[in-house]
Amino acid sequence: MEVDSESSSCKRFHPPLNLERSVPAILPASALVLPGDAIHAPEQNTLRGHGISWTLNDDPTVLRATLAGAVERINKLVTVRSWRGRYIPNVGDVVVGRIVQVLPASRRWKVDIQARQDAVLTLFAIRLPGAVQRRRTREDELNMRSFYAEHDLIAAEVQEVKADGTIMLHTRLEDKLGKLQQLGLFVAVPPGLIHRTSRAFASLGYPRLCAVLGVNGYIWIYWSTDESDSAEPNQEQLPQSRGVKVPLVPALTTSDAKAFCRARNAVLALSMLSFSISVESIRYVFGASATIEPRDMLEPPFLSSLQDVMNGSS
């Protein structure tokens, strides 16, 4: 990708980015609406869902949007999903969450997943160490903080959304769910930018650099430990950590560290331009930015050239 070398010279103040052109690039233009826009619904008996307004006096085939976002059609149900809104949970979604509160009395954790309310993870919905299925004892209740403490990040699956909106999570099924304790960093983006795919855990195309793309817009970019010891992460005591047990830091070079920052900035660049975020798009930006330093990836010259290229390709 060509970045104008003259304009990339260090200029701290710049006029606001012109984001107008990028809007049709998220989805086909017909699928994007602003409040008041007409949505054509030629079928009979359309079901009008969230973000749709229609009164009896209106033309039955024209609906009006009340939100800015993408039109979603599931059979006859038409809804508008706002792309700056909060995450709407669906059963089976893999999400990344941050523990907000530990409640040993009610045997549950409260987890922030960028939804309208905090999700609930009960003690019964986690995998105990050793992967043994057994009754949860009083001792487990007292040890809840040693499983997940406040501010810890976890990967979990939405188990159930109750009628009152309570979101139940579980971390049981896979090895990969549970506490995110590899060396990594956390990025939050608007949930509407992330598409539901079956692949929440993915490699970013750089050796050992992986990401968890939570459908809720929380993303964890991390260095995977070797595949062989994935079941039990390698524990080693580091001199700097003064007795705190931490997973082994893989021997990484400075260029690895820069690739790490590059991956983070790739996600942020996509989110700043409101492009959809998937493993492919992160990999694309990661590759496209190879000629510049990671720190220049969030500067206007790169962003505007990225915008041009992405608009052209879509």
Binding site: F13, L185, S241, T254, K258, C261, N265, E293, L298
Partner: protein, 318 residues
């Protein structure tokens, strides 16, 4: 509003700093983020500016002006003839739920007091706010001075990017720089005379911000948080190891303390402000102040160049 980080994230940030000398967004220690600046956003205000810093800082500043006249003795110290600047800072409750309620009031008061101390100690800037002076015919030993009073309203629409102090100071300075004031002249009349305004476009001019300060902040990062986890040991005094300029939210929440220096283009320090509990040695503080002071001068130059550019493009367009 700094975020709470998990233990792994903290370790990762420190690991990048310690082993590789990079920050999580790939910047070097002394590199600041680029800032998007937009001026004249509010047509009803005398001057306005909006600052967007990536990561979520969004600050809107607007100015209103008022004339004030007072009498000084004709041989009085010229320092007495000066205008004044007043500030109000508000976190916009509609913009984000975290600003609702009274939680942000402490930060608002702190920011106002910082801005007030910044501007009240930049004497040259205040001297330039004098609009006119006139010897009174009735009393020759008295000088009647007319000066501008500027009221700056700052509205914070987003503060999730960390380092809100600098963003506010950029917004205030650029809002003042875009403020148009009319010419002021003395009109003699039967009652003695009064100050009159000439609001013809060719007589209006922008306020002079050559001596207005801007703020530059740095955060001291240390590994002291690793010591906290050990209950039995008495935590020893940890010397902060790295100074980073323009900390982002993650770095800010991990920093032992931050230092904000307000300086002008001519490298005059107007205010120094430290927040955070961690002690810092005198040498480090001096070094940090010097670094921030240089940064302030650069910032002022770049901001002025940008404002001149924008003025020029405004003229070209019609």
């Amino acid at each position: 509003m700094p975020a709470d980080l998990s233990h792994v994230e903290k370790r990762n940030i420190l690991w990048l700093l310690r082993e590789h000398g990079v920050r999580i967004d790939g910047r070097s220690f002394s590199q600041t983020r680029s800032v998007s600046l937009q001026t004249d956003v509010l047509p009803s205000a005398a001057g306005s500016a909006r600052i967007l810093v990536r990561g979520g800082n969004d600050v809107l500043a607007s100015t209103n002006t008022e004339l004030r006249q007072f009498d000084v003795a004709i041989d009085a110290d010229p320092i007495l003839k000066k205008g004044s600047v007043g500030f109000s800072v508000e976190f916009c409750g509609v913009a984000s739920p975290e600003f609702q309620g009274r939680g942000s009031e402490v930060v608002e008061v702190e920011l106002v007091s910082l801005l007030e101390s910044m501007y009240s100690s930049s004497a040259e800037f205040l001297l330039h706010l004098v609009a006119g002076e006139r010897k009174l015919a009735s009393n020759p030993s008295v000088l009647r001075v007319c000066c501008w009073e500027i009221y700056v309203d700052v509205l914070i629409l987003g503060a999730s990017g960390g380092n809100i102090v600098d963003a506010v100071s950029y917004a205030v300075r650029s809002a003042i720089a875009t403020t148009f004031v009319p010419a002021v002249f003395w009109q003699e009349d039967a009652l003695g005379g009064s100050w009159e305004l000439d609001e013809r476009a060719e007589c209006c001019h922008r306020l002079d911000v050559t001596h207005a300060p801007v703020c530059s902040s740095g955060a001291f990062m240390s590994e002291s948080f690793l010591a906290e986890r050990i209950g039995s040991e008495i935590p020893e005094l940890v010397v902060p190891q790295w100074l980073i300029l323009d900390p982002c939210a993650e770095e800010e929440s991990l920093a032992g303390c931050t230092i904000s220096v307000a300086g002008t283009k001519h490298r005059q320090i107007c205010a120094v402000w430290k927040s955070g509990a961690e002690p810092v040695s005198l040498d480090l503080t001096l070094e940090a102040t010097r670094l921030c002071e240089t940064e302030c001068a650069l910032l002022c130059d770049e901001m002025d160049a940008m404002l001149v550019d924008m003025d020029r493009s405004d003229l070209d367009e019609p």
